[in-house]
C-alpha cells in the first residue's frame, strides 16, 4: 500500500512537471543557422522558464531530410507542437489543403501583426480565408552578385535587363572569360536562376498570373522564359552540375565568372565565411529585369492541429512574430525581419539595403522556395529544368511544365 502511494505520488510529481509545460519545435536549422535558432530558444526560455523546450532539428539543406521526417510523423499522428516550413504554397498546398493546420488569423489580429507585415505579404501566406503561418525571416531570391573590382577590370557594369545580361555575356566571352555567369547544380541553384529569369522576362504581373492560372505555361510569353533561360545557361560554367551554390559563388569571387544569381544567403557566405566587405568586397544588384520587385522566400512556423502543447506553441509563435524575436534571430541568420518596423541598425550593410527594398518594392513569391507552388509542382519542376539543360527544347519544357501544373492543381 505504501509503495503504491509512493508510486502515485511520483507520478503526480512528473504529471505536474509536464503541466508546467513542454514544447517541441521541429526545424532544419543546424550548422551555420544553429546559433540563430539557439538565440531564439534562449529568449523563449527567459520568458517561460518552466517550459521544457525540445529542439528537434533534422539537418540537411533546405529541409529535404526534415520534410521527409515530418511527413512520417504527421502521417503517424505524432505532430510536433510547431514546425518550420517555407511560407506560402509549400505549407498551404501540402498541409492546409489536407486540413492539418490551425488558422492563425485571430493571432495575427490580437498581436496587431496585420499592419506590421507588408500588405503584399499576407495574401501570399493565406488561402481559404485563413492565415497559416508566422514568418520569422525573409530572404531575397532575385539577387545578382559580383565583385566590383573584377567588373572594373573587365570594363562592364551590372546589366539591368536580360538582353543586357546576354550582351554583357558576349562582351566578356570576347575578352576570354569562358563562363561569365556561374551557376551550381540542378538540385536547386539552376531552378533558382530560372525563377529570376522568369520574373525578368514576364514582369511582376506576368509572374503572378502564371501562378493564378491566368497565364498558361504554354503561352508564347512563358515559352520565351525557357528560351531566355537557355541563352543564359549558354553563358554558364560547364561543370555546373558538380557544384554546390557555395562553389558557384566561389567562381565569382575567384574571378572565373563575373555574375551569379543566388539568394541573399550568399551575402552571409561571402561576408562571414570569406570575410569580404559588403559593398566594396562584393556587390549586388537585382537580377536583370527585376528591379523594383522583391522575390521573397520566408521560413515560417505553423501550428498543426492536434499539437500536444498548444498553449506553449502559441507562445512560441507570438515570440517569433514579435519585433524582439525577429531582431534577435535575423542578424545572426543573415536574413531580414519580415516585420517592417525592425531595428535596421542591428543589421549589416547588405541586409539594410534589402530591408529598405522589402519596405518599398513590390513583393513576389519564390517558386523553388515554396511560396507560389506546392511540393508536387516544385519537386517535379526540378526534373524539368534538369531535362531542359540537357536538351534545350523550350517547347517540350513548356508543355511538360503545363502538364505538371495541371497535375499539381496550380491556379485552381
Amino acid at each position: 500500500m505504501k509503495k503504491a502511494l509512493l508510486i502515485a505520488a511520483a507520478l503526480a510529481v512528473t504529471g505536474t512537471a509536464a503541466a508546467a509545460g513542454k514544447l517541441e519545435i521541429f526545424s532544419w536549422w543546424s550548422g551555420d543557422e544553429g546559433p540563430a535558432l539557439d538565440a531564439l530558444v534562449k529568449l523563449y526560455k527567459q520568458k517561460y522558464p518552466t517550459v521544457d523546450l525540445v529542439n528537434a532539428t533534422v539537418a540537411g539543406g533546405a529541409g529535404t531530410n526534415a520534410k521527409a521526417v515530418l511527413k512520417t510523423r504527421m502521417l503517424g499522428g505524432d505532430p510536433p507542437d510547431s514546425f518550420q516550413v517555407h511560407a506560402g504554397q509549400e505549407l498551404i498546398g501540402t498541409w492546409v489543403v489536407a486540413n492539418r493546420m490551425e488558422d492563425l488569423t485571430s493571432l495575427y489580429k490580437s498581436e496587431g501583426w496585420m499592419s506590421k507585415f507588408p500588405k503584399d505579404l499576407i495574401p501570399l501566406l493565406s488561402s481559404k480565408g485563413g492565415i497559416w503561418s508566422v514568418p520569422v525571416n525573409v530572404h531575397r531570391s532575385n539577387v545578382m552578385w559580383y565583385i566590383p573590382a573584377n567588373l572594373k577590370k573587365w570594363g562592364v557594369t551590372p546589366p539591368t535587363s536580360i538582353d543586357g545580361l546576354l550582351k554583357t555575356c558576349a562582351t566578356l566571352k570576347a575578352k576570354g572569360l569562358a563562363a561569365p555567369i556561374s551557376v551550381g547544380d540542378s538540385s536547386f541553384p539552376q531552378p533558382h536562376m530560372w525563377e529570376s529569369i522568369a520574373l525578368g522576362t514576364l514582369g511582376t504581373q506576368g509572374w503572378a498570373d502564371l501562378w493564378s492560372g491566368k497565364l498558361k505555361f504554354t503561352d508564347p510569353r512563358a515559352v520565351k522564359v525557357w528560351t531566355n533561360f537557355g541563352k543564359v545557361m549558354d553563358c554558364t560554367n560547364k561543370d555546373s552540375s558538380g557544384l554546390t551554390w557555395q562553389q558557384a559563388t566561389d567562381r565569382v569571387v575567384k574571378g572565373q565568372s563575373a555574375f551569379n544569381i543566388m539568394g541573399d544567403w550568399a551575402a552571409g557566405y561571402m561576408a562571414t565565411t570569406l570575410k569580404l566587405k559588403p559593398g566594396t568586397g562584393f556587390g549586388w544588384a537585382p537580377a536583370p529585369g527585376t528591379a523594383g520587385t522583391f522575390l521573397f522566400l520566408s521560413d515560417s512556423f505553423g501550428l498543426p492541429k492536434g499539437a500536444k502543447d498548444r498553449t506553449q506553441a502559441v507562445n512560441w509563435l507570438k515570440l517569433l512574430g514579435s519585433k524582439q524575436g525577429q531582431d534577435t534571430f535575423n542578424p545572426l541568420k543573415g536574413s531580414i525581419a519580415a516585420r517592417t518596423d525592425s531595428d535596421v541598425s542591428k543589421y549589416n550593410v547588405y541586409s539594410q539595403s534589402a530591408a529598405k527594398d522589402w519596405r518599398n518594392n513590390r513583393i513576389a513569391g519564390s517558386l523553388i522556395h515554396g511560396v507560389v507552388a506546392n511540393e508536387t509542382f516544385t519537386s517535379g519542376f526540378g526534373g524539368i529544368v534538369a531535362q531542359f539543360v540537357q536538351n534545350k527544347d523550350a517547347n517540350a519544357a513548356a508543355q511538360a511544365t503545363q502538364a505538371l501544373a495541371t497535375q499539381a492543381g496550380i491556379g485552381k
Binding site: 489536407a98 560547364k238 558538380g242 526534373g383 534538369a386
Partner: protein, 383 residues
C-alpha cells in the same frame, strides 16, 4: 526443401511435437511474425497503394484520413508511357547500363586481382586487406570521398593536371548509345529472341530436338511480331531518346572501387578451393598456363561468378546512397529509380506513384534473385 521434409520410412521416429521441435518453433515464431508483417505485409501494402491514386490530389495526400481510390494500372502505364514520366524511363535505362558496367568491371577486376594474389606474392595478406578494405566503408563514405576526388576543378583533375572540361567525371551532360523509347517493344523482342536462340543451341547440344524447335519457333514468331505489329506500338506520344549518360562514369568508378575487393575475396576463395592436383594433372597432360585457366579453373569458378553477379546485380539495381552522396537529388544525369522514388514520395507527396516505382524496382530485383534462390534450393535438395 519441401521434398526433404517428407518423412521417410527409414526414420520411423515420431516427428511431431517433441520438445525440440516445439522449442525451435517458439524460437522462430517471433522473427517469422515480424518478417510476415514488416517485409511481406508492407510489400503487399505498397503493391496495393501502387494501384491507387494516393497523392494525385494534394488535398488528400497528407490528410489524416485520406480518400484513396483504386485506379488499376494507371500509375504503371504513366511511368512507362506518360508525358510527365520520361524521367523515370531515363532512370530505368541508366540503371540498366550502370548495372551492366558495374558487374562486368567488378567481376573483371576482382578476378584479375584474385589471380594475382593466387600466385602468392610477397605481403599477400597486406594486399588482400588493402583490396578488401573499401568494402568496410558505407556507400555514403565512399560517395563523399569520390565526390571530392572527381570534382571538376579539384581532386584527380588537379592532381594529374587534366582539363576539367574534357574530364567531366560526374558532370558531363553528354549521353551515348541513344535509342527511341518507342522502339522498346522491338528491342525487347530481339533480345528475348536471342535468348531463345541461345536456349535452342543448348537444347541441340543435349540432343533435345523438340525443345530446340519450339525455342526457334518462338524466337521467329517474336521477331515477326516485332517487325510487323510491334513496330506500330507507340509507347509515348512523342519520340523520346534515352541513352547511357556519361556522368555515370564517375559513379561506376566509385562503385567498382567499393565492391571489386569483395569479388576478389570470392574468387580467391574459389581459386584456393581448387585442388593443386587438378592443375598438376592438366599441366602433365601438356596444357599451357592459359589453357589451365581456360579449361580447368574458369569452369570451376562459374558458380562463384553467378553468386557474385546476383549479389552485385541486386546492389546496383537498388542503389541509392552512393548516388545521393555523390551527386545529390534532382540531378538527372546520374539519377536512378530509387532516388526518383524518394523524390516522388517524400518531396512530391505522390505516394502511389512512389509505390509504383518501388514495385518496379522490386520486380527487377526479384528477376535477378528468384532464379538464383530457386537454383540454390534445388541444389541443396539434391545434396
Amino acid at each position: 526443401m519441401a521434398r526433404a521434409s517428407i518423412p521417410t520410412r527409414a526414420a520411423p521416429r515420431r516427428r511431431s511435437f517433441n520438445s525440440d521441435r516445439l522449442w525451435s518453433l517458439v524460437v522462430l515464431l517471433p522473427s517469422a511474425v515480424l518478417l510476415a508483417i514488416f517485409v511481406y505485409g508492407f510489400i503487399f501494402r505498397s503493391g496495393y497503394l501502387s494501384l491507387t491514386d494516393w497523392g494525385n490530389d494534394p488535398a488528400q495526400a497528407l490528410s489524416l484520413n485520406p480518400v484513396i481510390k483504386y485506379t488499376g494500372l494507371t500509375n504503371y502505364s504513366n511511368l512507362f508511357g506518360g508525358l510527365l514520366d520520361s524521367r523515370f524511363r531515363q532512370d530505368l535505362v541508366s540503371t540498366l547500363f550502370f548495372t551492366a558496367f558495374f558487374i562486368v568491371a567488378c567481376l573483371g577486376l576482382g578476378l584479375g586481382l584474385a589471380m594475382l594474389l593466387d600466385r602468392n606474392p610477397k605481403g599477400e595478406g597486406l594486399w588482400r586487406t588493402i583490396f578488401l578494405f573499401p568494402m568496410s566503408l558505407s556507400f555514403i563514405v565512399t560517395g563523399t570521398i569520390w565526390r571530392w576526388m572527381l570534382q571538376p576543378a579539384g581532386g584527380v583533375n588537379a592532381l594529374f593536371g587534366l582539363d576539367p572540361d574534357r574530364h567531366a567525371w560526374l558532370t558531363s551532360n553528354a549521353s551515348i548509345w541513344r535509342f527511341d523509347w518507342n522502339k522498346l517493344p522491338l528491342i525487347t523482342a530481339v533480345v528475348v529472341a536471342l535468348v531463345l536462340l541461345g536456349l535452342a543451341s543448348r537444347a541441340r547440344q543435349s540432343a533435345n530436338r523438340t525443345q530446340m524447335w519450339v525455342a526457334i519457333a518462338c524466337a521467329a514468331l517474336l521477331v515477326l511480331w516485332a517487325f510487323t505489329l510491334g513496330n506500330s506500338v507507340k509507347m509515348t506520344p512523342v519520340p523520346e531518346y534515352h541513352g547511357f549518360n556519361l556522368a555515370f562514369i564517375g559513379i561506376i568508378i566509385a562503385a567498382v572501387w567499393q565492391m571489386s575487393g569483395y569479388t576478389m575475396a570470392l574468387y580467391l576463395a574459389g581459386l584456393r578451393g581448387i585442388p593443386d592436383e587438378l592443375r598438376e594433372a592438366a599441366r602433365v597432360d601438356g596444357a599451357s598456363e592459359w589453357g589451365v585457366y581456360r579449361r580447368v579453373i574458369f569452369p570451376l569458378l562459374a558458380p562463384i561468378t553467378l553468386s557474385a553477379m546476383i549479389i552485385l546485380g541486386h546492389i546496383s539495381l537498388k542503389i541509392f546512397d552512393l548516388v545521393y552522396a555523390m551527386t545529390s537529388l534532382n540531378n538527372l544525369n546520374t539519377e536512378v529509380p530509387a532516388l526518383l522514388m524518394y523524390i516522388t514520395a517524400f518531396q512530391g507527396n505522390q505516394f502511389a506513384k512512389g509505390a509504383a516505382i518501388g514495385m518496379v524496382l522490386l520486380i527487377l530485383v526479384a528477376a535477378v534473385i528468384v532464379p538464383y534462390l530457386a537454383s540454390q534450393f534445388r541444389r541443396s535438395d539434391r545434396s
